[in-house]
């Protein structure tokens, strides 16, 4: 009772990190059965392997297997536990899907999920089946799955070159890297064609012609080579890992690092895949650099870029956004900073005679860095190039209008001015106009304005007027200079302005982040800091947000009100919970539950998750890569703020608890002092009187004993109620405890037989001896009170299951009133007809002390008469 309950400042964080380590260590294993094309027998092989494991006693569940009606495959399923598919309706059709929730609920050791590359029906939790599989592995379940080589993301381009078929369903290479084992299922091409002819190969639902095109002998041989090579590369890499781990210095160029520069072009995805394949072969890290230039992207470019960067992220690249208007120098700067050994760029489509292409410039300036120029394939989804000027078109038309008006006004002004000051002054006026216009307008209109003003100057002001003919040579030079100056000034100014715009956006973001951090750090409590911080995010991104914080017990409570300008709708909670549990963004613009109206980001630090932040973007905008990165930076800040708040709260709580604990103890001590001192005086005084046979004295003595018992019961009960009871476990001998209990109630037992049975080989156990002795004493006292004088009481001690200490007290009295077995342990409960002199607390105290040990106590009537009380305590035992 003396030691304070163990309150650490934030056990949450500790617990969370321990839990995470635990989950990492027990992540499931992924086994992939890889084939070159449908029909080689992947599913068959998978089922055979699974049957073997089943025989070994593994708890196996067939999550989903496509048998395509083949009898021999069906036969292998016989006797296995097959999961029902989840039926869902989509646009009037009933679709059957793999039921991931059912698997997570059943928690088998191993689950079979066919066709890893499958795309789930809309409305499923994940867009792709491979995400389901990743979640299963994360939950510690082993997975067997099948995959054809053409579905591997990095091989898609090659497959397209071989077969001419663009594969839509792909699996990122990163999932293959996570595989514990990849088993290649190989079949000779002739054999396969034979099987096809026999109709043993499922062709899918595609048009017959496309299929027959795909299954040509040449294609199949190439695909087979691809599958074999892919597996061989992987084996090679494994081997290399082994060698590397055994040797200190390796003959491999371990410092290799690839960098690929991408922009909003349709070739970006192909470049990224190529780099990933090469990096995979070299087993080296790779960077994807996106140079944010001066030109702002239109929405389709934005989309292309976001898709490309999303692919890079999926394939495991490190994405480095960089800013600058000269792509080549930016790429080289990043390459030098990051120690890159090889830069990958696309081959220019057409070579210009006058301007050096990016590739040329890189080759010229790269120094010791290798430059790899490859011919990329345009991705299947070609963005409409014609929409280059989509949204600002309206304002552009306006600007051209302004240009026309300006030319007209300036020419009229100039004609007035020319008569007074000469036509040279007019040229200066026009130049001024160009500079001013460049500050306001886009580059196109400025250039047009420059050109028009130059012509106007020539036509109206240079002699001879009203012709484009120039007679004086110096005027020709002037005109040429004017033209050049106007155009380059317009160009420079507009570039300056764009750079300024990019800078100011960055500055605004940085300032907001800074303000956010300051505000949060200075806020007096979460009630002030967090809403202000959220408002800042809303204003900066022009979005709506909602923050759902976790409750102190690490869980999300659906009834908690979200902080922010919007409340999540009921159906959003599925997404929220998923994002919280899997610590991964989910919802709109992600691959998980994309149908939801908001994007949900987990608000987490490296150690713990504090909640989930929902973000609602205006309907027509999309979450582009840059915005997502900035948003994630804010979310991290938010997580740090919340974590700080939680830690402060935990510390305050601990301090408060300690204070009240101290107060309670002091109070208890002083109350017990006040109550026990007079009792001690009476007791001692009675002792002083001695046994003189005076009946009054013996009555006082009895009453005093009763009073002592009541006081100590009340005090003990108060301790239990205020949870001051904290077992102080020490190694003890159970028979010593029982003996000491017996000693303390010697007077009430008065001459009864106590039959103690303790196994001689009972080891020492770790319990709070005093509490257990008190519990046994109370039970013995009860036995004495409720059974006829002289009847024996049995106490037997045993150790069940090696770690449950049971102490049974049996009496030979009338037994318990039936139906009251539970009530007996309630506070102040006294069964009807009890003899006077009890407090009704004895058994409640027994239960309190036993529960403090994490044990249980129960009572029953024995079939052969008498009552039986059983204490069961989980204990640590000594082996000596």
């Amino acid at each position: 009772m003396n030691s304070a309950p163990d309150e650490r400042p934030d056990p949450d964080a500790l617990l969370a990190s321990m839990q995470r380590e635990e989950t990492q260590s027990k992540a499931g294993k992924l086994f992939i059965f890889l084939g070159m094309c449908p029909g080689v027998g992947k599913t068959f092989a998978m089922l055979q392997a699974a049957r073997q494991r089943y025989k070994e006693g593994v708890n196996l569940l067939v999550g989903l297997v496509e048998t395509h009606g083949r009898a021999e495959t069906l036969a292998l399923l016989d006797g296995l536990n097959v999961l029902h598919r989840r039926k869902m309706e989509y646009r009037g059709r009933i679709l059957e899907e793999f039921d991931i929730d059912a698997v997570l609920q059943q928690r088998p050791d191993l689950v079979l999920v066919d066709e890893l590359a499958h795309t789930n029906a809309p409305g499923s939790r994940h867009a792709k089946r491979c995400q389901d599989v990743l979640e299963l592995i994360g939950a510690g379940i082993d997975v067997y799955t099948t995959l054809n080589v053409q579905h591997i993301e990095s091989q898609v381009d090659i497959v397209r070159q071989i077969t001419g078929v663009a594969i839509q369903e792909t699996v990122p290479d990163s999932i293959l890297d996570q595989a514990h084992e990849i088993q290649l299922i190989d079949l000779g091409v002739e054999k396969l064609l034979e099987r096809m002819a026999e109709g043993k190969v499922y062709m899918g639902e595609r048009a017959e012609q496309a299929v027959s095109h795909f299954f040509k002998e040449g294609n199949l041989t190439a695909l087979r080579e691809l599958a074999l090579r892919f597996t061989a590369e992987r084996v090679d890499r494994d081997l290399e890992d082994i060698r590397r781990s055994k040797r200190v210095s390796s003959p491999w160029k371990t410092s290799a690092r690839l960098l690929v520069g991408v922009g909003p072009s349709p070739y970006a995805e192909s470049l990224i895949r190529w780099t990933r394949r090469t990096a995979g072969r070299l087993n080296c890290p790779w960077l994807v650099v996106w140079v944010e230039g001066l030109r702002s992207l239109n929405s389709s470019q934005q989309e292309t870029l976001t898709r490309a960067l999303g692919l890079a992220r999926k394939l495991g690249a490190e994405i480095v956004p960089a800013a600058g208007d000269d792509v080549a120098s930016v790429l080289l700067r990043v390459a030098r900073e990051r120690n890159v050994s090889q830069i990958v760029v696309g081959k220019p489509e057409s070579r210009s005679r006058f301007r050096k292409s990016l590739a040329d410039r890189l080759i010229d300036e790269s120094g010791d860095i290798d430059v790899c120029v490859i011919r990329p394939l345009a991705s299947g989804k070609t963005p409409a190039v014609s929409t280059m000027v989509a949204s600002p078109a309206a304002s552009l038309v306006g600007q051209y209008g302004w240009v026309a008006a300006l030319v007209f006004i300036l020419t009229s002004l100039g004609s007035g001015l020319a008569t007074v000051a000469g036509y040279m002054v007019v040229a200066l006026l026009f130049l001024l106009a160009v500079v001013v216009a460049a500050l306001r307008m886009a580059r196109g209109p400025v250039l047009v304005l420059s050109a028009l003003l130059a012509l106007s100057w020539n036509f109206f002001f240079i002699q001879p007027s009203f012709t484009f003919f120039i007679s004086k040579p110096e005027d020709i030079v002037m005109f040429g200079l004017f033209f050049v100056v106007a155009i380059s000034m317009g160009h420079l100014t507009s570039r300056l302005r764009q750079r300024e715009r990019v800078e100011s956006r960055r500055q605004r973001e940085t300032a907001a982040l800074l303000q956010f951090t300051q505000q949060a750090a200075l806020a007096t409590g979460p009630a002030n800091g967090v809403p202000a911080a959220l408002r800042l995010i809303e204003d900066l991104f022009r979005i709506e947000v909602a923050l759902v914080e976790r409750s102190p017990d690490q869980s999300l409570d659906q009834s908690t009100r979200a902080v922010g300008s919007r409340q999540p709708a009921g159906k959003e909670w599925g997404v929220i919970n998923w994002a919280f549990e899997n610590r991964h963004p989910a919802g709109r613009f992600t691959d998980t539950l994309p149908d939801s109206s908001a994007t949900w980001f987990p608000v987490q630090t490296s150690t713990s998750i504090m909640g989930v932040l929902g973000v609602w973007l205006p309907r027509e905008t999309s979450l582009d890569f840059g915005m997502r990165q900035t948003l994630e930076a804010f979310v991290l800040q938010l997580a740090l703020v919340l974590e700080k708040e939680h830690i402060i709260q935990a510390v305050n709580r601990a301090e408060l608890l300690e204070q009240s604990e101290k107060l309670r103890r002091t109070l208890l001590d002083s109350v017990s002092h006040e109550l026990k001192t007079p009792l001690a005086v009476i007791h001692a005084a009675l002792d002083g009187l001695g046994e003189d046979g005076n009946p009054y004295v013996s009555e006082i003595r009895t009453a005093n004993q009763r009073l002592q018992r009541v006081v100590s019961h009340l005090l003990q009960m108060t301790q239990i109620e205020s949870s001051v009871v904290e077992p102080h476990r020490e190694w003890c001998d159970v028979s010593d405890i029982v003996r000491s209990a017996q000693e303390s109630v010697r007077e009430s037992l008065a001459g009864r037989m106590i039959e103690l049975s303790v196994p001689p080989d009972l080891p020492a156990v770790k319990v709070d001896a005093m509490l257990i002795a008190q519990a046994i004493a109370n039970m013995l006292h009860n036995a004495a009170l409720y059974t006829p004088a002289g009847t024996p009481v049995q106490v037997s001690v045993s150790l069940a299951a090696g770690s449950i200490l049971t102490i049974v007290v049996r009496d030979h009295g009338p037994g318990l009133p039936s139906g009251e077995e539970e009530l007996l342990f309630a506070k102040f409960y006294r069964s009807p007809g009890s003899p006077a002199g009890g407090t009704g607390l004895g058994l409640a105290i027994v239960r309190g002390f036993v529960q403090a040990h994490g044990g249980t106590v129960s009572a029953r009537n024995r079939p052969d008469g008498g009552a039986e009380f059983t204490l069961a305590l989980p204990v640590e035992t000594a082996t000596v």
Partner: protein, 226 residues
């Protein structure tokens, strides 16, 4: 004839002081008392008592503090008399030099027996031989006889028994037994102790109904009483 033993009572409750005085004087003690810690310490210097009865809840300072200051210069036997009955309080007091511990309410008979035991401690520590019920102990020859017959004890058993016998009647805390028998590193391993205590009980017939008992005070230690 030896002079009457002097007892000093340090307790803030006047009734307790009066009663203890009555009880002790009737058993031949010369009694002094003090109502507070400071006064108690001064009295201890002035009257050089043979035994001190100390309450833990004193108005001016904690009883433990009184004990610690007393132990700085004196090894007079001290009996703690307190309403605090938790084992950790008892252990703390015993570790800080108290000789025994009695919780209120107490029986005066028991109190007198404990006082006698802790006063005997000094005598037992200097004796070469002692008799406890049916046991004769020869500390110089390191032998123990039970009802006239020599009992063979292993060195560890003897070391353990010697400490208990030297402190006969008084509780010896587990930590002290472990430290003195097995050395300073063993203080956490109470399960050794329990095994040897059982050996002693069997070899020396220290059963519950014999004239010498080796009893356990749960969570605190062992006491050899005759």
């Amino acid at each position: 004839m030896t002079a009457a033993p002097v007892a000093l009572i340090i307790d803030d409750e006047i009734q307790i002081r009066r009663l203890l005085r009555l009880a002790l004087e009737s058993r031949g003690y010369k009694v002094h008392d003090a109502a507070a810690g400071q006064l108690g310490l001064i009295e201890a210097v002035n009257v050089s008592p043979d035994v001190i009865l100390l309450d833990l809840g004193l108005p001016d300072m904690d009883g433990l503090e009184v004990l610690k200051r007393l132990r700085e210069w004196s090894d007079v036997p001290v009996l703690i008399l307190s309403v605090r009955d938790h084992e950790s309080v008892k252990i703390t007091a015993l570790e800080n030099g108290a000789d025994d511990y009695v919780t209120k309410p107490f029986s005066t008979g028991e109190l007198a027996a404990r006082l006698a035991a802790i006063r005997r401690r000094n005598v037992m520590e200097s004796q070469a031989e002692a008799t406890l019920g049916h046991l004769q102990i020869d500390f110089s020859a390191r032998t123990v006889h039970s009802r006239g017959e020599e009992v063979h004890l292993t060195p560890t058993e003897y070391a353990l028994f010697k400490i208990l016998a030297r402190h006969a009647g008084k509780v010896v805390i587990q930590k002290q037994l472990l430290r003195e028998v097995w050395g300073p590193q063993a203080s956490g391993q109470a399960q050794y102790l329990r095994v040897y205590i059982n050996h002693l009980r069997r070899k020396l017939s220290l059963t519950d109904d014999s004239d010498v008992k080796l009893i356990n005070e749960p969570g605190i230690g062992y006491r050899l009483i005759s």
